[in-house]
Symmetry: C2
Subunit: 88 residues, 2 copies
DNA sequence: ACGATACAACGCATATATGCGTTATTCTGA
DNA sequence: TCAGAATAACGCATATATGCGTTGTATCGT
């Protein structure tokens, strides 16, 4: 039975998203940014990311992707792994 | 002029996604997994992620989120930063 | 008081990550 | 050679990350 998905109705649930982890990441990013005395706007400009997205990340509203982490790391002159170096 | 977005037509472009970086990440994840002699299916089960998603990540087809990295790290008994510890 | 600066919060668009199933292909050991 | 295991690849659904603009709020120096 190919293409069974077309005929079966099921409820989609994203199980992976982890709010406590993305909040911890946002807090950590804010610490890295403020320690380097950068404003959100300056970081946004360096990383070529909209400032609104920087805000959402720091407030822990979004489940950031590794490409974004890479862009932020370059803007902060850090290795990407530094951005994940925090405790939950 | 509030809600200007409603009236202005503009083309949306995702500038952040970085295919070479997500490919390098996938290759690195595959190395971590095979070094521990785990099949994709075993890793998928431990991390509670669909096996098809593990495959897509390792083939560098998707821009993985930090929640997924966290889940994979737990399943691999590594700190999340280990998953970003690679060269592009 | 007031203008400037920083950040929060919203509104809405598109692209895509994930979930979950199936089918196709490749690898591997007896 | 060939059956089973592992992986690739596909199909399609929903949730959401991002892009880009605006408005709201707080702080601060003057």
């Amino acid at each position: 039975m190919y293409r069974l998905c077309e005929y079966i109705h099921f409820r989609y649930v994203n199980k992976i998203r982890d709010n406590s982890y993305i909040k911890a990441f946002g807090y950590h990013l804010r610490e890295l940014r403020t320690k380097k005395e950068l404003s959100q706007e300056e970081l946004a400009y360096s990383a070529d990311i909209p400032i609104s997205q920087i805000g959402r990340i720091e407030r822990g509203e979004v489940n950031t992707t590794i490409s974004t982490i890479n862009a932020l790391a370059k803007a902060l002159n850090d290795h990407p792994k530094v951005l994940l170096d925090f405790k939950v």
